[in-house]
């Protein structure tokens, strides 16, 4: 599973991209957030307030209950501010 980070989420995690293999119990975005938060202090800081973080699965915005599977591209980032 490829995980991407953008903006301050990327800065806090300390990397823009990583390949991860979460355990079987991680079945949705919320589960993945919980599991990723345990990987490093940077991850923990990035996900400290999950309400501030948005997600996309395979390049579509996704809610916390959206399923994630091996092979997915999952991204985490703050609310968008383009335009």
């Amino acid at each position: 599973m490829k995980v991407l980070y953008f903006a301050w989420v990327r800065q806090k995690v300390g990397t823009a991209e990583e390949d991860v293999a979460p355990p079987e119990e991680v079945r949705d975005v919320a589960g993945l957030v919980g599991w990723l938060a345990g990987r490093s202090p940077g991850h923990a800081a990035a996900f400290a307030d999950p309400r501030q973080v948005r997600a996309a699965v395979n390049q579509d915005f996704a809610t916390p209950d959206h399923p994630v599977r091996a092979g997915d591209e999952v991204a985490f980032f703050p609310p968008v501010t383009g335009g």
């Binding site: 991407l4 953008f6 903006a7 301050w8 990327r10 996309a56 390049q59 579509d60 915005f61 991204a75 980032f77 703050p78 609310p79 968008v80 501010t81 383009g82 335009g83």
Partner: protein
């Protein structure tokens, strides 16, 4: 058949006159062309704005938003260009252009596109200040409200 939008995500500047001309080129069924040009302001000592985006998803999101506009309004054409990277005060950031036989369709779809783009396209702005500080721009509730008025 709805018009096929032109979507570009690029670091380079764009030419408003050329993009306007391109939506009219070779056709005489365009009665109105609306546009919105977003520009980097020099608020509060801003020295530069760095725009980060999600390559791949950005193009996908902009295409989806533009196709929605082409489905909702009878457009003859539609162009969305959004820059990324480091921009200076006065630099153009985003261009939305909509063309239609009728002015109301052009004006409404242009407002729709920029409102939706602000809440549905994966861009993030980081402001850098003359003093050396920097901060990520926070999303505004008013942008969500602006986008919400197009919900149906």
């Amino acid at each position: 058949m709805p018009a096929t939008p032109t979507i570009r995500v690029q670091a380079e500047p764009f030419d408003v006159g050329a993009e306007t001309a391109a939506l009219q080129a070779g056709r005489t069924d365009v009665g109105g062309l609306a546009s919105f040009l977003g520009i980097c302001r020099a608020d509060g000592g801003l020295a530069a704005m760095v725009l980060e985006h999600y390559p791949g998803m950005t193009e996908r999101a902009l295409t989806r938003i533009a196709e929605e506009a082409c489905a909702r309004w009878p457009l003859t054409g539609c162009t969305v260009i959004h820059r990324h990277g480091r921009l200076l005060p006065g630099d153009p950031i985003v261009l939305v252009l909509t063309a239609s036989a009728h002015r109301v369709a052009a004006l409404e779809s242009c407002a729709f596109l920029i409102d939706w783009l602000k809440t549905k396209a994966p861009f993030w702005k980081r402001e850098e200040f003359a003093g050396g500080g920097a901060r990520w721009v926070e999303a505004k509730a008013e942008d969500d409200e602006a986008a919400a008025r197009w919900a149906r």
